[in-house]
Subunit: 206 residues, 2 copies
DNA sequence: GCAAATTAATGATTTATTCAAG
DNA sequence: CTTGAATAAATCATTAATTTGC
């Protein structure tokens, strides 16, 4: 039995492999659509939920960075005044400039690796085209129940303008019907936000 | 339309008052149900979304604690070796033991103030009663759309045990018919057979 | 070989910090 | 300057590796 009590997700090797590939491909902060897609895809290889994907990326990114930091510190060996640990914030993984071809998931999925807007945030300066943009940020908290029962929820906000009016339950806007799992033009169309499409490498500032 | 561009929520005085009362009443980490309720209630006083409530509590707690910390530091005035900011972690607000009567919201809502498990975690030592608990943790994703359109979703996890097939992508399971907003398990990210995906998504292969 | 006991990894939570609108 | 929004760091807790004694 599926174990009445697996209190935490244990990714299968395939799942890990795929996730790592995506990570290397440039994904850092998958947005909800991406999470959905990834989850759907990975669920072919074993039990998985959206939150697992979310957490995986969070942790992976953090630990990746952590490793790098440690390395550097050892390198320089200056124990004296290592700064407030915040100066090292963006050390870890300057999101890959552009994803290499590694990312063959482009084929199966529709999304580009999306250079996470870690450094480049949407500076709400530009007047975005219009809709077309789907979603940008997310936030997450998970609560657990007593024994083994967990659940992850996403509550659709009653959109401010349209007071309710139906929530299309599948609020995802699948534009086109596709085959196995694919995605719809999420992030679409090169909006400023996820510049994965157009300007991939410019920023790199820091 | 309400301002094509209000990029962030501005609570009305009433909303703030109520939130503060709840905070003083002991609420620190409202769970999704609570958030729903609070949101529903506060929406009577102005535009508001679940995530706003969530963030409000996060920020309020953090800043409350922050203030206290600052005070203490000034008090002791020992600039020399103030610790790694972690020693002060649980300084801020030891959640009120039990909420005083302040919390008249119990009347209108169904939830108890829930002393957040800030300090006291369930160290799986105690055998808790059983079910009766609703949900403890939640995870939510907020996505924002271009201009003014935002949506926050909570997707109910398909509970691990019940492998409810079906889920035609729209299987709404309103357990509780709340008035204003309802929730439903969108996307069964945990299931093997991803239902809605099959028919809905397209390949955007481009 | 195999479990119990330890340790290492890593999934899941919480807290601190940063960014930016108003 | 206040504070809503978002992200990253730190922490907790459980599972998987592994070591160890038999």
């Amino acid at each position: 039995m599926p174990s009445s009590s697996s209190s935490r997700w244990s990714p299968t090797p395939e799942q890990v492999r795929i996730l790592e590939e995506m990570y290397r491909g440039g994904i850092r902060n998958p947005n909800p659509s991406q999470i959905q897609q990834i989850t759907a895809h990975l669920s072919l290889y074993g039990k998985i939920e959206g939150k697992n994907v979310f957490y995986w990326f969070q942790n992976h990114k953090a630990r990746d960075r952590q490793k790098l930091r440690k390395k550097l510190i050892i390198r320089h060996q200056q124990p004296q005044n290592h700064p407030h640990h915040h100066l090292l914030h963006y050390l870890g993984s300057p999101p890959p400039p552009v994803l290499p071809q590694l990312f063959h998931y482009n084929n199966s999925f529709g999304f580009l690796p999306q250079i996470s807007n870690d450094t480049a945030k949407w500076r709400g300066d530009d007047h975005l085209p219009d809709q077309t943009r789907e979603m940008d940020k997310y936030y997450a908290t998970v609560m657990r129940t007593n024994g083994s029962d967990r659940r992850m929820m996403m509550m659709l906000d009653v959109s401010p303008t349209s007071t309710t009016t139906t929530l299309p339950c599948c609020n995802i806007v699948h534009n086109k019907p596709l085959k196995t799992l694919e995605l719809f033009p999420i992030t679409a169309t090169g909006l400023k936000d996820d510049k994965c499409t157009t300007s991939l490498l410019d920023s790199t500032s820091n």
